[in-house]
């Protein structure tokens, strides 16, 4: 990413390492987050994503490296001297305060007087459409309402950066979609930076401008959701993202930027546009997104094709995922609209030909 002088990164991680005793939770990460960005840090549990967020909030001190906020080194700054409010996984609403007092908390700590505190808190409650609950106890609210209180409480001090630690993980599925819309709209309207930690791919991909994929304490890839999905940087990301066919084989031929790779399921051509070309004889992996594979009526006309038999099918909304197997036992996934399959008789035909273009396959770095 290039830095234009007009937009300095608001958050910078420079070679940050965090060790707890002998355990290295974060193993040297570099990351720049621009003002107004919605960044999602995604990974499975124990990958270091929450530790990364907690370091940004000052709840953990980095063992090595530097964390900068708005250009200033923050390593030594205590949590209460930072302007990085957080929405917690448990929400961490204060049970002994009512809704309005919860929202006022940050202002009270900053020495704002009672009247102004109340005004500002009420404005945020109105914005979150929960002003009618202002004097209620927090445990009289529903999950979604509590979520809004937590957001209002964190945003009332008008921070430049908002941290969110899996805030939707406790909600029902239908509320999650609703809250995703609320969050996205809020972030657009406020224009502030959201740093959103989650293990859920759908949340990250639905909301974030850029997604950071973490694994084993390291950043595996940073990019726009589409780029990560279409062009995973390595095998870890490709597997993490799912809905991909990953094939590994030996490079047999290089022709321009197209590479031929011999796999147990057959030899396929892969476009290596923009990637480093592997040597002939080297082992290489590539992915084809499941929705870029199609059923081919004429295998001879395809750049790549393979003969498969159907194992099972999965039907979600109008999208169908088919699980197939080639003769040598390699698994293939095909994702397609239900109507596309309308004129293919899945039951009658025992064998299908799958096809895809060399350009839709993506060579993986290791």
């Amino acid at each position: 990413m290039t830095n234009s002088p007009a937009s300095q990164p608001i958050v910078e991680f420079v070679d940050v390492v965090k060790r707890f005793g002998d355990f290295e939770a974060v193993k040297g990460i570099d990351l720049e987050i621009m003002p107004g960005e919605f960044i999602a840090i995604m990974g499975s549990s124990g990958c270091g994503k929450t530790t990364t967020l907690r370091m940004l909030a000052g709840l953990e001190a980095p063992t090595e490296g530097e964390i900068r906020l708005d250009g200033q080194v923050m390593n030594d700054v205590k949590p209460h001297d930072r302007d990085t409010p957080m929405v917690w996984q448990s929400l961490a609403l204060f049970p002994f305060l009512n809704v309005r007092e919860n929202v006022e908390f940050g202002l009270k700590m900053r020495g704002v007087g009672p009247d102004e505190r109340k005004d500002r808190a009420m404005r945020w409650l109105e914005r979150m459409e929960i002003e009618q609950f202002a004097e209620r106890s927090v445990d009289q609210l529903s999950g979604g309402q509590r979520q809004r209180v937590a957001l209002a409480r964190a945003l009332v001090t008008e921070p430049k950066v908002l941290l969110l630690d899996e805030p939707l993980s406790a909600l029902d599925a239908h509320l999650v979609i609703r809250m995703q819309q609320v969050l996205t709209k809020l972030q657009r309207d406020l224009g502030i930076t959201f740093v959103y930690v989650t293990h859920s791919q759908s949340e990250a991909f639905a909301m974030a401008d850029r997604v950071v994929i973490m694994g084993d304490g390291k950043i595996a890839q940073v990019g726009k959701p589409r780029d990560i999905y279409r062009a995973p940087a390595n095998r870890f990301v490709a597997e993490f993202v799912g809905r991909n066919n990953i094939l590994t084989g030996t490079v047999t031929e290089l022709a321009g930027s197209t590479v031929a790779i011999a796999t147990p399921a057959g030899t396929f051509t892969v476009s290596a546009e923009g990637a480093a070309l592997p040597a002939v004889g080297a082992t290489a992996s590539f992915v084809i997104a499941a929705d870029l594979v199609h059923f081919s009526p004429d295998p001879m006309a395809e750049e790549n094709s393979v003969e498969c038999s159907l194992i099972s099918e999965e039907f979600v909304g109008s999208v169908m995922t088919l699980f197939l197997e080639s003769k040598d036992g390699t698994e293939f996934k095909v994702q397609t609209q239900e109507r596309v399959l309308a004129n293919i008789d899945l039951k009658a035909t025992g064998r299908f030909h799958l096809g895809w273009s060399a350009a839709s396959a993506h060579l993986l770095g290791e």
């Binding site: 000052g58 709840l59 209460h80 409010p85 448990s90 609403l93 204060f94 049970p95 927090v138």
Partner: protein
């Protein structure tokens, strides 16, 4: 078979009632005797009287002792609860070397017989020159009640969502401010419970108070001195009064701890 099981169950339940009967018998008997006209109570009981209560109400020594007892138990409850809170918070929040030693310092006193504590404190207070004062009883009772205060408050902190304190820092509260704004409000029911219970324990303690009190006798010390002399039903009257005070404190503590305890933190 099931018939025999049911029989066993009922026999066991009856047994439980007997055990509770044994435990509460002396308390109930004492209250009954305090309204009984006989000097040496027996069955059938004598007539109803309040003469024993009148007697103690007119006894200036009893009033003096009551004043001392109230001063001692109030001071003890404040001191023990304050120290217990600091200790419970330390245990909740921090890991450090010699933590087991630190906790032992808080929790050991109840395992040492009161009579030994009494002798040790008597000698020690004489040595450092504060013997025979109300403050010596308070100091001793605080040692004995810190474990209760600490345990009650520690249990309450266990129920707290760990993120609550961090959320306060995150919203701009310093560590001190977070204790004031979050930890204390959250622990408040336990703090009040702790004050009630430590006051009740102090109000009933006689062995240590007897040794270190000097002329500042507390109510239990007066009871001890009366019963050493002879059978005097006044003791039942004082005892019933003491039960009333203790029970009020204990029930109050229990109600506070139970009702507020139900208002749990927001957890998914």
């Amino acid at each position: 078979m099931s018939g025999r099981d049911a029989l066993t169950t009922w026999v066991l339940r009856f047994y439980v009632v007997l055990v509770f009967g044994f435990i509460f018998m002396p308390i109930v008997a004492s209250v009954i005797f305090s309204f009984n006209s006989q000097r040496f109570p027996t069955v059938p009981l004598g007539s109803f009287t309040t003469e024993w209560y009148t007697a103690i109400l007119n006894d200036p020594d009893i009033w003096e002792a009551a004043r001392t007892s109230i001063l001692v138990s109030l001071s003890t409850s404040v001191l023990a609860t304050f120290i217990g809170f600091c200790t419970a918070y330390t245990d909740y929040r921090f890991k450090f070397r010699y933590k087991y030693g630190f906790l032992a310092l808080a929790l050991l006193p109840p395992t040492i017989p009161l009579i030994i504590m009494a002798l040790a404190m008597l000698a020690w207070f004489a040595k450092i020159g504060i013997s025979g004062q109300v403050w010596s009883i308070i100091a001793a009772h605080t040692v004995l009640t810190i474990p209760f205060a600490m345990a009650i408050i520690r249990l309450r902190l266990n129920e707290m969502d760990e993120s609550l304190e961090a959320a306060a820092w995150n919203l701009g509260a310093s560590e001190w401010r977070a204790v004031k704004e979050v930890i204390i409000p959250f622990a408040k029911p336990a703090i009040i419970s702790s004050m009630c219970l430590t006051a009740a324990v102090s109000f009933d303690e006689f062995a240590v108070a007897w040794f270190v009190s000097g002329l500042n006798k507390t109510i239990p010390v007066v009871i001890l001195e009366i019963v050493t002399g002879n059978i005097d039903p006044q003791v039942n009257a004082i005892g019933s009064f003491v039960f009333l005070v203790s029970m009020t404190l204990v029930v109050l503590a229990q109600i506070l701890f139970m009702t507020k305890g139900k208002r749990r933190t927001v957890t998914p």
